[in-house]
Amino acid sequence: MDLHTRVESHATVVTISGRLDAVTAPEYEKRIREMIDSGAVSFVVDFDQVDYISSAGLRALLLMTKLLNAKGGRVCLANVKGNVRSVFEMCGFCAVFRMENSVAEALAALA
């Protein structure tokens, strides 16, 4: 997994690529916690380059949402598609997360 961030006017865009699995999810959690501890409260997570996610990845996203809810923050996921999307659907996570079809739409949803 590679993780890059960029700060837009009202949200931090987190771009991940590769696998979000039992090995990489702890690293994802660590990076997100650091950003939330530094004061970031609005996030867009771009899944365009994610080709695999397991329950460990879903747990990391759930934890992120819980941390943000506790601080009045928000997260919107973008470009969740294909087999990765079917993992969200199987676990009923499409109703749990706000999702948009592009980063631009996700940023607009948080504006």
């Binding site: 699995d21 039992a22 090995v23 397991s54 759930l62 934890l63 199987m90 676990c91």
Partner: protein, 163 residues
């Protein structure tokens, strides 16, 4: 079947594609270190023997969820242990066998059914892995043979009309 003891290299060893009676063929037969880091190496091997991307994704997801279970719950993180993974294909079925040497543990009996309708703040962290394995496979079964657990997953191959 190759022996089930740790080697000095502790690397996964793979044996691919050999006939196994009737229309069955062993696509993959490997010994995998019981470490989370081995899962991606195993996934690469699965992707190589299963050209159907969607099927390979399902198989890799099931393997990760069950192997993680064994490492965390069965072996309690014990180092230098191994599991055996086999993929066997026939005309209509893909069969996945996962064998460990952990104490008796049936993930399909012991995992609670997750409530998928709960609000985000009430969602428990856990139980989703086994739920997905049950959703993705047509048959799931776990047995203890006296020396370890044997999990057998079977998926019916629904051949596309164009094939």
């Amino acid at each position: 079947m190759e022996s089930y003891k740790p080697t000095q290299t502790q690397e996964a060893r793979f044996m691919k594609s050999r006939p196994c009676g009737h229309d069955k063929q062993v696509l993959l037969d490997c010994r995998v270190p019981a470490r989370l880091e081995a899962i991606e190496t195993l996934a690469d091997a699965v992707n190589e023997v299963l050209p159907d991307r969607d099927l390979a994704f399902s198989v890799n997801l099931c393997l990760e969820e069950l192997i993680t279970n064994v490492i965390v719950h069965g072996l309690k993180g014990a180092a230098d242990r191994f599991m055996q993974v086999q993929l066997i294909i026939s005309d209509d079925w893909l069969e996945i066998l996962l064998r460990d040497d952990a104490p008796r543990f049936d993930p399909f009996m012991q995992a609670p059914e997750p409530n998928l309708d709960l609000d985000v703040n009430d969602r428990p962290i856990g139980g989703l892995g086994v739920h997905m394995v049950k959703k993705l496979m047509d048959e799931v079964h776990a047995d203890y043979d006296g020396s370890g657990n044997v999990i057998v997953l079977r998926k019916h191959l629904r051949h596309k009309a164009s094939e």
